[in-house]
């Protein structure tokens, strides 16, 4: 749940990057970390295994500056993608204001994408949140791979984007689509806030 301080005019929102294992969630955060000036970001915290797979979460706070007179900060989290880490995934999702679903564009990963999307819906429900009420954008990552290995964004939209939310082709390793994804989810989250959601 976003935190709004009317006295100091500050907004803090939590955005979670969700998706199957190895889809590129941590890569998105690494790219953002590398591009954002040091004065506008905090330390990137990664709770990872020895082989650098996300164990609990990655966390990156960024400072967006003044939006409508509010100092606006976003807390970016990733979840561990592997199926067996569902308990920690559910914990990270708690209090999320927006979700980026990072899908793997490889055709052979389609089932994993669908399973992860269903898992997102189920975990949100456990927090009492209807996925239809959650600001959500889709990112189809690894679009830089050879065409014969991947599905196109329209094909992925057909298979995954049942809500017709904003979707972006991406190559997170080189930054394509990362900025657009973050911008889109930021807009959705702040629009929801602007619509007068309860301040808490």
């Amino acid at each position: 749940m976003s935190l709004v301080n009317f006295t100091a005019r500050e907004i803090t929102c939590k955005i979670v990057y969700y998706g199957p294992g190895r889809s590129g969630k941590t890569t998105n955060l690494h790219y953002i970390y590398g591009r954002v000036p040091e004065t506008r970001r905090g330390r990137m915290v990664s709770l990872a295994t020895q082989t650098d797979r996300t164990l609990f979460f990655d966390f990156l706070p960024i400072d967006l500056g003044q939006i409508s007179g509010f100092a606006t900060r976003f807390q970016l989290y990733t979840v561990p993608g592997q199926v067996y880490y569902n308990a920690t995934r559910r914990l990270v999702l708690q209090g999320a204001d927006g979700v980026v679903f990072v899908g793997d564009s490889q055709a052979r990963q389609l089932d994993e994408n669908i399973e992860s999307l269903q898992n997102l819906q189920s975990n949100l429900l456990e927090h009492g949140v209807d996925v239809r009420a959650m600001p959500l954008v889709m990112q189809y990552n690894k679009q830089d791979l050879p065409p014969e290995l991947i599905l196109t964004p329209p094909e992925l939209d057909d298979a995954l984007n049942f809500r017709s939310v904003p979707s972006f082709p991406a190559d997170a390793l080189h930054g394509r689509g990362v900025f657009e994804t973050l911008k889109s989810v930021s807009e959705l989250v702040l629009k929801k806030l602007a619509a007068g959601s309860p301040a808490s």
Binding site: N5, R40, S68, G95, A194
Partner: protein, 158 residues
């Protein structure tokens, strides 16, 4: 009041200020279980506050889940103590919902016992001061998109 004591929600400020002084704590955070900071003391950079809050919330969440799987009530508090510094982390229920307190203390000026003692008072003061229910408020102007785009363009050096 310490120059580094700051409250996002003002009702937390006095209880926190009293706690910092009496327990001689070096760093203190009052946060929600999802890692949002309500008040802090001793931190010099907002972003470091957020990292500490995210990690504290993760500890609260993971120990809570462990307790749930063990069919136990949530663990009320936990602490770690190193050679010079320790930290104490505990949760309690208020009208604002469940809150957590993370207190970091130096062993040459404080101790776990002192921190625990004054934490009880802090929790009671925060429970008494917490507002009853949240009020919906209009937050942002409807035309914030341009400012958001400018901010993100600046962030990404575009």
């Amino acid at each position: 009041m310490s120059p580094h004591t700051r409250a996002v929600e003002t009702w937390t400020l006095q209880p926190l200020t009293d706690f910092v002084r009496e327990a001689s704590a070096r760093l203190v955070l009052v946060l929600t279980p999802s890692g949002q900071v309500l008040a802090q003391s001793g931190f010099s950079r907002a972003v470091d506050v957020m990292s500490a809050a995210a990690l504290a919330a993760a500890i609260v969440a993971s120990t809570g889940e462990l307790a749930r799987q063990l069919r136990q009530p949530p663990f009320a508090a936990l602490s770690h103590q190193g050679p010079r510094t320790g930290f104490f982390l505990a949760t309690f229920l208020t009208d604002r919902g469940t809150l957590a307190v993370l207190a970091v203390y130096d062993l040459d000026v404080s101790s776990l016992g002192i921190v625990q003692l004054f934490y009880e008072q802090l929790a009671a003061d925060l429970k008494a001061a917490s507002p009853k229910g949240a009020v919906p408020k209009q937050v942002l102007a409807a035309d914030f998109e341009r400012e958001l785009t400018d901010s993100l363009n600046t962030l990404f050096g575009r």
